[in-house]
Subunit: 278 residues, 2 copies
Amino acid sequence: MEVIEGIADLKRERRHLKEPVGFVPTMGYLHEGHMSLVRRAKKENSTAIVSIFVNPTQFGPKEDLDKYPRDVPRDLEMLEKAGAEIVFTPMAQEIYPEGFCTWVDVEKVTENLEGAHRPGHFRGVATVVAKLFNLVEPTRAYFGQKDAQQVVVIKRMVGDLNMGTSIVVCPTIREWDGLAMSSRNSYLSIQERRAAPVLYRSLLLGRKLWEQGERNPDDIRKEMAGLIEKEPLASVSYISVADPETLAEIDTIKGKALVSLAVNIGKTRLIDNITLGE
Amino acid sequence: MEVIEGIADLKRERRHLKEPVGFVPTMGYLHEGHMSLVRRAKKENSTAIVSIFVNPTQFGPKEDLDKYPRDVPRDLEMLEKAGAEIVFTPMAQEIYPEGFCTWVDVEKVTENLEGAHRPGHFRGVATVVAKLFNLVEPTRAYFGQKDAQQVVVIKRMVGDLNMGTSIVVCPTIREWDGLAMSSRNSYLSIQERRAAPVLYRSLLLGRKLWEQGERNPDDIRKEMAGLIEKEPLASVSYISVADPETLAEIDTIKGKALVSLAVNIGKTRLIDNITLGE
């Protein structure tokens, strides 16, 4: 496994890699969710490249950029064991040099959900992913369904800008009690960690209601919110029942629906989702 | 020469082209300015690809999209003679399909000059060039210095987004009387055409003043405006003396300076520029 920090080094190395190339962009502090993407990238390609970059432009001014968890030595050990060929760990000043002023702006699908609560977040995500795609030139790139809106935004960007990379979406990986794996879970106290599975439990309740024939998103949201409110450490940011492609809220569930939510557990904002009708 | 309209056909063809590939994006209605780019692309690469696409997103609502001059049969004849290998003539609905919502936004260098007078223009330019670069995957792309701000914006975008294409800037090609070649010159009446060289004459006056030691942009602009105002059919939109890279207006000319202007000749908006200190 080769660890590459500089852009020029990456470009030089890129010329000699065996095609096809699978790419997993991450912010590090890896967990089983990331590793499932890396394994899939290994399996489907001749070369697997992983990037570790805590992208400053996708954090809001009041968000957790400075305290975002980092442990690159451990990440590298995990990636070595998983058989990644290349790990790209660029410095922020090389990704965003002085005078940087170009942004990839995906509209419409960024208006709701996380986009509504985190202004500028998806502009930062789309811009850094576009940059990484241009540098890594992957055949396929792997993203987790846990960040459902991110997946929609990236797919939209790739299609709209005619990028040559295929986007592969992998299932959310969960802890034994249903909590979706996330680097931010490390912020939780023991009490908060015990409360956190309420997100997934509320999603399962939503699915159960739908399976019982409920097609009114208002009723589903109300039941889900009721469940979450019983948990004293949890407070709902939003619960959404939306079209999986446009992310517009649905009046009556007919085909597929993306049920997603954000919940603050103490001071930690967690998100999760399931798709109905798949 | 092969004329390709569909994106899928272009992608299929692209795989078999001899590298390196030179690319000249145009809006058609070709003139010697374009042809100088095509010849340079031929000379420096194994394959020359030219696109003809009147990009709707770079026109403002009150601008000349509908009446922009078009003559594709003549364009193809000129390109055939010049030895272009591939001409890409996509349809607007394939470049901007329903639901399209991703934009490349270059900030700062788009705030002044044309950007200030044509809101959204450079967002449309940057977006379509990004799309075309992703489709054509050129080794080098050729642009005319006549559109000085466009060159700065494209270079900025390519650098900021780590695109793998080199930008080659070619000198402005002029008519015998100094008028910079432009498809929009076809809008001019005989009287207006006679008045139009005033842009270049004012630029030459600016250069002469600078050669005589003038370093105050205000004085240069004043003299240039005075010359243009003597021409009854001409009215100045702006005259700028700016840093060639940031496009910020200069207080005192020290190193290089981009002198650029936009002038309405009747109802036709023309632009031109020269660089001092090169």
